[in-house]
Amino acid sequence: MSDQVKSEPFILNIGPQHPSTHGVFRVKVKVDGERILDAEMVMGYLHRSIEKLAEERTYTQNIPFTDRTDYLASMSNNLGYVLAVEKLAGIDVPERGQAIRVIMAELQRLASHCMAVGAFANDTGAWQTPVMWTFREREKILDIFEMTSGARLTCNYMRIGGVAFDLRPEFEPMVRKILADFPPFIEQLEDMLSGNEIFRARSIGVGVLSPEMATNSSLSGPVLRSAGIAWDIRKADPYSGYEKYDFQIAVGYNGDCYDRFIVRLEEMRQSCKIIRQALDGLPGGPHSTQVPLALRPPAGEAYARVEGPRGELGYYVVSDEGPTPYRFHIRPPSFINLSALREITIGSTVADAIVILGSIDIVVGEIDR
């Protein structure tokens, strides 16, 4: 409106109690009409100071903490921490353990991306239908987790040196069934959403992220890849046997919300490919090496990282030869992916801000740790 029509901007609180902030997370938005002038994030509502607690527990006792930071990707978190400690203590994992770890991490990526894709479609306004579909598929994966590790969400399945339990005979048919009906489900989602005119109108060109801004703001994961940067830790720094599997990285075109959506869909397809290859070539032998309960790794530090569903999930562990880590730091992909949120939302409308927040796919447990 022209300057004669003076409408003074006012502060609007999106969150902490808001239907689409995916958890307890607040964005204080300075708004002039529908246009956003400034966005400021307020967080810390879920801060349990896991890094302080971890300093007082042995390396094995810290594994359940890693489940609870990013409660939507507990397997990937376990894998990250366990790799860091093994790198620190110089423990090697048997073939079977590595293969099981890869299968579990990729299944967890499928489940987490289902959640991300469904929640994003829900933010653009598709009233619950995509969420219900993706949750139906996610349930099947959670059943597998419950069967193998005992818990659906916080599995606590991986141990230093391997995995907690070996796979049960029913594991293989269940995973085969999932691999059979996931690709058609992704086709169905694409027909319903990617091809849908309204969905494209709501997400193409919204929250565009330039490659320089993405790199400079140290983003990672689908958000970075949608900006056109082909960087995936599984390919760049293969861990736990990823170099054996043949798969591709999905890279977007112009870094907007639509690209993040299609990158996640493509990653789900690639995960299915990996799981199939890992399952076919599942080696026999022990599923983990014996590690003393109060492991005392040699003094030193290690930074190991894993390609989690939300991005590069790093664990920086410093040991002083004591049974407990001297310093335990988690590199939270959701927390760091938010550093570009302010620049993207300024200038867009309130409705777009919600869609952008949904496309970045944050988990508040991981932000506040």
Partner: protein, 426 residues
């Protein structure tokens, strides 16, 4: 004894036309009541009949229960099946639950306006059904300007929504209020244009005569003017803010829009009447576009009001379908869509229909025979598709949208990979 004779004489048992029953009751009452009162009773009886037989069951059964069941099915889940046999008592359970919930009023809210808003939101919904014909002579008020009456009454709930939004003294509800007003104004204009196209052919504004015209000419207006039907559907779903245009109470963006501060039965009224208006709009669409209670002569055997109710629920299914599947448009996209696309297309449609009406007048030199209508129908269907496509191309929509649906794929990790011109990747 006189009662038996009295009852035998009037064919009240003929359920095809419920007006016989009402006539019998009225004549019976006329004997006991003073002279003038029977008209008031007739109107009351009309309202009670139409409301109880048609609105309440279809609103509860189809609106609350049916919608949740169908949307549940679309989302691969069951939908309500706990309360009562197969979940049929769910609407009543909702109503009772809402009844005993506390209706909060924020401290600095405008209490008077906040209390009045639901009432003004509810009243017009019942008024709408006075004009809609359920059968040959089953209509409460056959006024000659029924169409305009419908438009007039359907513009009042917008004010009620605005009052609710403004008086709740909450930022989100203020957003909802401003959004609903802006959207309704811009979607009322194409709606009126589309309905003008219909009136050109039927020649009357009264709904009963429209149905009779469609019955006598054995053609439904929806075949005659598909474009008007499409515009009507989009505009009405925008005004009732149902998806894909439910931005006034967009759950994911502004919590619940103008309904944020409402709770208990006040919210229940808004929610119930949302469905009531949707049914009123589909009833109106059924009469104007789908030939009301006539079914190409079959209405002599099937009760006309049954045909009419079936058509209303058919149209209402369209609302449920879009609500279950489509995402939501942004406010500015909706505005540009209304003013840049809907209005011009409606105007073109009006021009074409007017020329057809002139042709019809000349060719049949006044007798307006039925044959030409089928010709016009075919021409109109082709014209509808042509106009929509041509105008969209004119506005810059290119079918081969350049953003592909699949990302690029690479085998190894590397830094930034610029998009090559031929759309890279697979």
């Amino acid at each position: 004894m006189t009662l038996l004779v009295f009852l035998a004489s009037k064919n009240w048992y003929d359920i095809r036309d419920l007006s016989n029953i009402s006539r019998v009751i009225l004549e019976g009452l006329d004997r006991f009541l003073p002279s003038g009162i029977v008209y008031v009773v007739a109107v009351l009886l009309g309202f009670v009949a139409s409301f109880l037989i048609f609105v309440l069951p279809s609103q509860l059964i189809v609106g609350v229960y049916g919608e949740r069941k169908i949307i549940g099915r679309m989302q691969s889940r069951l939908g309500p099946n706990r309360v009562g046999p197969k979940g049929l008592l769910q609407p009543i359970a909702d109503a009772i639950k809402l009844m005993q919930k506390e209706a909060l009023t924020p401290k600095f809210a405008d209490k008077a306006v906040m209390w009045v808003a639901p009432i003004i939101f509810v009243a017009p919904c019942v008024l709408l059904f006075a004009v809609i014909p359920f059968g040959p002579n089953m209509i409460i008020a056959d006024i000659p300007v029924a169409l305009l009456y419908f438009l007039a009454v359907s513009s009042i709930p917008v004010l009620a929504a605005f009052m609710a939004g403004w008086s709740a003294n909450n930022k989100y509800s203020l957003y909802g209020a401003m959004r609903i007003v802006a959207m309704t104004i811009s979607y009322e204009v194409p709606l009126v244009m589309a309905l003008m196209g219909v009136v050109l052919f039927t020649g009357t504004l009264s709904l009963q005569e429209m149905v009779l015209w469609q019955k006598s000419n054995d053609i439904w207006v929806v075949f005659l003017q598909p474009l008007a039907f499409a515009i009507y559907f989009i505009c009405v779903s925008a005004e009732l803010n149902r998806t894909p245009t439910d931005i006034a109470e967009a759950e994911s963006e502004i919590v619940a829009g103008y309904l944020t501060e409402y709770s208990g039965m006040k919210w229940g009224l808004f929610y119930g009447m949302d469905i009531g208006y949707a049914i009123a709009a589909s009833a109106f669409a059924a009469t104007v576009f789908l030939g009301g209670w006539s079914f190409f002569g079959l209405d002599k055997y099937i009760p006309p009001w049954a045909i009419f109710i079936a058509k209303t629920h058919l149209f209402y299914f369209l609302f449920i379908w879009t609500r279950g599947t489509l995402p939501r448009l942004r406010l500015d996209q909706l505005m540009t869509f209304a003013w840049k696309f809907m209005l011009p297309v409606a105007l073109i449609n009006l021009v074409v229909v007017a020329t057809e009406r002139m042709l019809w007048q000349e060719l049949t030199d006044g007798k307006l025979t039925q044959g030409y209508l089928y010709l016009f129908a075919i021409v109109n269907i082709a014209m509808a598709v042509a106009i929509v496509y041509a105008w969209a191309r004119m506005l810059g929509y290119s079918p081969k949208d350049e953003t592909p649906m699949r990302p690029r794929l690479f085998n190894d990790a590397r830094g930034y990979v610029p998009v090559v011109s031929e759309k890279g990747g697979r």
